[in-house]
Amino acid sequence: MEKRQDRTAAIPDWVSPRCLPMVLILLLAFSLLFFPSRQAFALQLITHPDADITEISRNTARAVFSMRRQVWPDGAAIRVFVFPDKHKLHKAFAKQLLGIFPHQLRRAWDRKVFSGTGQAPDTVQSEAEMIEMIKKTPGAVGYISEDNRDESVQILEME
């Protein structure tokens, strides 16, 4: 025990806990200067072909994809499909279409799943699988790149 305390005492002053407030402030200031670069993809929200809804506001879309909104206006269950957190389309979708970061979605889902107040979205690995699942699941909503626009699913326009 004595030894360990000695070791702490030997750490130079500038790493001592007393200096940490300054380090925190500097890091925070630096973070405000930090603007991420964006890689643009043309993305499109899609729904099951029978969906009544063809337009959605960004606020409502956020509520849907953070699993807070659970039913469509007609009362049908919403089924959310996403790509994995690190998928480039998922990152672009969160930032460009929803205007939030993927980690915010992950946190929102975890809060729901581990407190019994909601469920996680279903994850698909490819755009082909996304279209396939959206096509066969009533109430489904997801997203694809515009290059892969497919007649068998319905486009959901963001207002």
């Binding site: 890091l27 409502t60 919403i78 939030i100 970061f101 581990f114 909601g118």
Partner: protein, 399 residues
């Protein structure tokens, strides 16, 4: 825990980690899109320079383990049933026995264009601050040990979950979202609550009365900025046993928390401030009638490095009595409890590595001045050391 028990446990954990993912995929075998199964398991190692925290930590303790398994089922589009089993081992404070963490019916009854309202009934997680509802899921908290100023581990059950109901609603506007929760219920208390408020596990019983809970969260840009205010208010009733030195009385508790969080793409700044009134009535001469306010706050900065690493720095301060922050009055009082048991100032530095999305390890180092958050179950408060350090390593798996 000795080495043999450690290896026995790690073998069990490895076995579980092989068994559980197939179990989760088994849910899809039922071919029922309404059923979801999730869970987590964590194993921690704690080493302190002095004092005991989560076991015999001054000799290195493996007595920190969290196992959880939950299921949820959507009975109708608007009605969900869900429950979670939890086993927590935390030194002398938690023995790993199985408990129902939550078990509830969630009825999302009203949906509008710009909001919704719902009701939850059963054992509901208590909404406190930013982290409380998923405090036992290592993936969802910033450090192995949450800031003890607000998320006390020595009386965790008072905050954990409550048997009752909760009404919730959200309002979506162009200036941000408002998320509201309010409810009533009985906190699921245990003997740790008795240790914290009455100093021991007495023959009699300290049980919780109905508490009122309320929390409002304001989120801008889907959570770039999060502001929250929490209140929890209720009484603990003590029914003394024949030899107990307390009489039939109550401990009233009111907890107030304010929270702020800013989330940039790779930076997260969080601060929370807490006050807790503890009001003793009719407990007898050992605990004279009186009002006492505990206070605490922390400042925390997290930075995501690359995509799988995260560093964190935090300063966390707890005072058990804001009118006696340095503890001198307590030390001069009838029991002469050393002053440093009345506060704790904790500097934490931590590093997290998400090896895969489902497997994570995190190490952190704490420099602590004061012992306010140590439990008298694990420590003789007269023999605690004021200045101490802690190293904690934790591996966690989720599915």
């Amino acid at each position: 825990m000795n080495r043999y028990r450690f290896w026995k446990w790690s073998r069990r954990l490895v076995l579980l980690s092989w068994l559980l993912p197939p179990l989760a995929t088994a849910a899809s075998l039922f071919a029922d899109e309404n059923l979801q199964i999730h869970g987590f398991l964590s194993q921690g190692y704690t080493h302190t320079s002095a004092n005991n925290w989560f076991g015999d930590s001054s000799n290195g303790s493996w007595d920190f383990r969290e196992l959880g398994l939950n299921a949820s089922y959507r009975l109708t589009p608007q009605l969900q049933i869900s429950g979670q089993l939890l086993s927590l081992t935390a030194g002398e404070m938690q023995d790993g026995s199985l408990s129902l963490d939550y078990g509830l019916l969630d009825y999302h009854f009203a949906n509008f264009d710009n909001g919704s309202i719902g009701l939850r009934i059963g054992r509901v997680k208590t909404p406190i601050g930013l982290y409380n509802e998923t405090r036992d899921v290592a993936f969802t908290r910033p450090t192995n040990f949450l800031p003890q100023s607000i998320y006390f581990d020595k009386v965790r059950n008072l905050e954990l979950s409550n048997d009752g109901f909760e009404i919730y609603g959200d309002l979506l506007t162009d200036w941000g979202d408002l998320l509201l929760q309010g409810g009533m219920g009985k906190p699921v208390t245990d003997e740790n609550v008795e240790y914290a408020y009455l100093g021991n596990d007495w023959q009699g019983e300290l049980s919780a009365d109905l508490f009122f809970f309320g929390r409002v969260i304001y989120e801008l840009d889907g959570g770039r900025i999060r502001l929250s205010a929490t209140i929890a208010d209720g009484d603990l009733d003590f029914e003394p046993g024949p030899t107990d030195p307390f009489s039939n009385g109550t401990t009233g508790i009111q907890l107030r928390v304010l929270s702020f969080q800013y989330n940039a793409e790779s930076w997260h700044f969080t601060t929370e401030y807490m006050q807790e009134d503890v009001i003793s009535r009719d407990l007898g001469a050992l605990q004279p009638d009186g009002d006492n306010t505990a206070e605490g706050y922390y400042l925390q900065l997290v930075h995501d490095l690359f995509s799988d690493w995260e560093i964190i720095a935090r300063y966390d301060v707890s005072y058990l009595n804001r009118d006696d922050r340095d503890g001198t009055k307590q030390e001069a009082g009838p029991f002469g409890i050393p002053a440093h048991n009345m506060f704790a100032k904790d500097w934490t530095l931590g590093l997290r590595w998400d090896i895969t999305p489902a497997f994570m390890v995190r190490g952190e180092y704490h420099w602590v001045d004061g012992t306010a958050w140590l439990s008298s179950r694990e420590n003789n408060l007269f023999q605690t050391e004021r200045h101490w350090q802690m190293f904690s390593l934790l591996a966690s798996y989720r599915f």
